[in-house]
Symmetry: C2
Subunit: 410 residues, 2 copies
């Protein structure tokens, strides 16, 4: 008998039929004697419908009123799910973010949770009720409705689990767990039984969009065991926890992440003086363009080459800014390339294993794939390659690190 | 410069274009220097859409959750209207019933307002803001969302006007005021500039569905001047107030109301003993059938005839109950008639004028219309006639009491 927080996203509650299926699932857990808090998103499509109404009225809708508007989406779902549970004889009570008092700061449309008053939920749980909470929303200290930004329902679930010291926070989604890599690219990709918070954050930030990165960070910070499962299939999903020291043989690499959303810009022949990196990147960030990887080479003649990546949508603007910067700094030339892909290997095991980078570069070299940029962190190595080799690179790395076998190459 | 509460119903805010038109109207009042609190309903169709979702889940949706669900309808409108006002440079703030603290009892789906905390509204008004409040909803003492039942937005507007001691409560609707009778029946029907609360209640209860009767009663109780106007046309509408003693020549009759929703039942030859009325009506009310007019004639042979009207939808059931009663009481016979109509003349002027009934009966008699039942109150006389004479009767009475002329026949 455990206290579980279960979160169901928009697709899982997209129709009244699906809401009934969620109710069936929750009732089965309840029948096992577990205490359950359910967090739900708006029915899929509903948030976009509401945003379209606001857009019809003004181009830049007032943030405070935007929150009043879109928070209705989740409010509809909590009422319907609570009814579906009660129809099944499973006593339930719905709460908006404001009612259960998810106190946030005053940043409308992107609020951060400050505090949760779990008293009311505890009373309901003691009375044998399932508590159904609207995800994605809260209330500020003045009583205004706030929202946490897209994907905020995951964060709500984790925050409730932390406040209630739940045994597990289960995120139900349309995939059945976290994979060693994208199964559409590698047939032998394998669902991981466990992964650490750190690895999950690296995987998520690299494009494996199973969970919101913010929710994973939150779970890590408060040590809330997080499990990703499928709403539609049975299965244990993937458990995300702190590093598990009881597992003797930690695999070196847990997964391969990749994305094709980036583009590369190079400014060559820049005078190698203090502050030149700043003079290059400041105009880019002033234009509200986010930079991902940054590499600077030591060059000859007191000149240097500077390369960085941005989101492909920002490429044209970044190129214009950089050409101006190039003229100002007297750079030799500015080049850009949108046909790139980033591939990363992720694993906490890297910390204690030397030679992982070598092994990665060797696998790519064996396939004749040229590496354009390299960037490393404690538990991740990322490379930028020509986009056309992406699938080949992912398959080669998946095989080189034995990810198709449980336990990996350890 | 006045404090006005303005209420716009579902049709008036049915699309984003109409919400923008409401914003234009509110801004014009604001530009005149008035302080304004706006109450809005859900966009037309929205409440029915939400009810259909609940119906898809269960036949008798849980009332508490029903309130959580349908209160989202008005919440969407307040956000959109507040945005539309701010787009026009008219500072505004939206509030749900819970935020502005419209405290109600705990009767979900048909709650009654207990108290309103007007402090927050006053602060906004002082700061020059338009306050936009969700109609139809409130919050109980435990923080649960409640709704006031259909048409409750009118009641919200009147209650806010009473709490704020507003100069006027303006109800914008799709008609431009209260008429002497239905203009579709009588061409010369005239919009009334003024009408008393009592008259309005009689008119409303008799089928002139301009305003919710509950809102009119509330306005009368707290003496809130109430004005009915059109959302779509210019005009002063109809002002509903306490009896105005400054008007020297009060018209005897203010309007003609009618309805065709009733059916008549007669039980004849009932022993004329104490308690027979009770023995007839108790089984009817036990069957949850509401009775409107009741007439009992003194008969011969210590026997009496007893006639009453019910809603046509209840006619069949009432007839079955009454036939059983007839057998139990040894009545001579039970008859029913669905082809009836009720016509009423309404006016506070009747109080001080004798002979109004005679004048009414004469007008009907001149047209050869037979009166089947009569019922009177201090400011109303109702008759039941054969349905086919309804239009003829209304026109004859409208003309007999000179209602086409301002000031009537006084």
């Amino acid at each position: 008998m455990a206290l579980l927080v279960q979160k169901f996203g928009g697709t899982s509650v997209g129709t009244t039929e699906r809401i009934e299926a969620v109710a069936d699932k929750v009732c089965r857990f309840r029948a096992l004697g577990h205490d359950i808090v359910v967090v739900v998103s708006a029915m899929s499509g509903e948030t976009n419908r509401l945003i379209a109404l606001a857009d019809a009225i003004m181009e830049q809708p007032v943030p405070r009123e935007m929150d009043v508007l879109i928070s209705t989406g989740e409010q509809v779902t909590i009422a319907l799910l609570s009814m579906a549970l009660q129809k099944r004889g499973c006593d339930a009570r719905s709460y908006t973010g404001s009612q259960v008092r998810i106190l946030t700061d005053r940043s409308h449309t992107k609020a951060r949770i400050r505090q949760i008053d779990e008293q009311r939920m505890r009373e309901d749980l003691s009375a044998g009720r399932v508590v159904v909470v609207a995800g994605f929303q809260g209330v500020d200290d003045l009583g205004n409705i706030t929202t946490l930004g897209r994907g905020g329902s995951d964060t709500t679930a984790v925050a409730l689990a932390a406040a209630l010291k739940a045994d597990e926070c289960q995120i139900y989604t349309d995939v059945d767990g976290v994979y060693t890599t994208d199964p559409r690219v590698v047939d032998s990709a394998r669902r991981l039984d466990r992964i650490t918070f750190e690895e999950m954050i690296e995987m998520a930030s690299l494009g494996s969009k199973v969970l919101q990165i913010r929710a994973v960070e939150f779970a890590g910070k408060y040590n809330v065991p997080l499990r990703v499962l499928s709403s539609f299939q049975e299965g244990d999903g993937t458990l995300i926890t702190l590093e598990d020291n009881t597992v003797m043989e930690q695999p070196v690499v847990s997964g391969i992440a990749f994305n094709r959303d980036e583009a590369k810009l190079t400014i060559s022949g820049v005078p190698d003086t203090p502050g030149s990196a700043l003079r290059i990147l400041k105009p880019i960030s002033s234009a509200n363009i986010e930079v991902d990887m940054i590499v600077q080479n030591v060059g000859a003649d007191n000149r240097t080459d500077f390369t960085f990546t941005v989101h492909r949508n920002d490429f044209r603007r970044a190129q214009e800014v950089l050409e101006q910067v190039g003229r100002d700094l007297g750079a030799r030339e500015v080049n850009g390339d949108t046909k790139i892909a980033k591939v990363s290997i992720v694993g906490v095991g890297m910390r204690s294993h030397a030679g992982v980078a070598t092994q990665m570069f060797e696998a790519l070299s064996n396939e004749g794939i040229n590496i354009q940029m390299i960037s490393t962190s404690e538990i991740k190595i990322s490379v930028v390659i020509n986009e056309k080799y992406l699938e080949l690179a992912v398959r080669a790395l998946h095989s080189a690190f034995d990810l198709h076998r449980p336990g990996g190459e350890a």
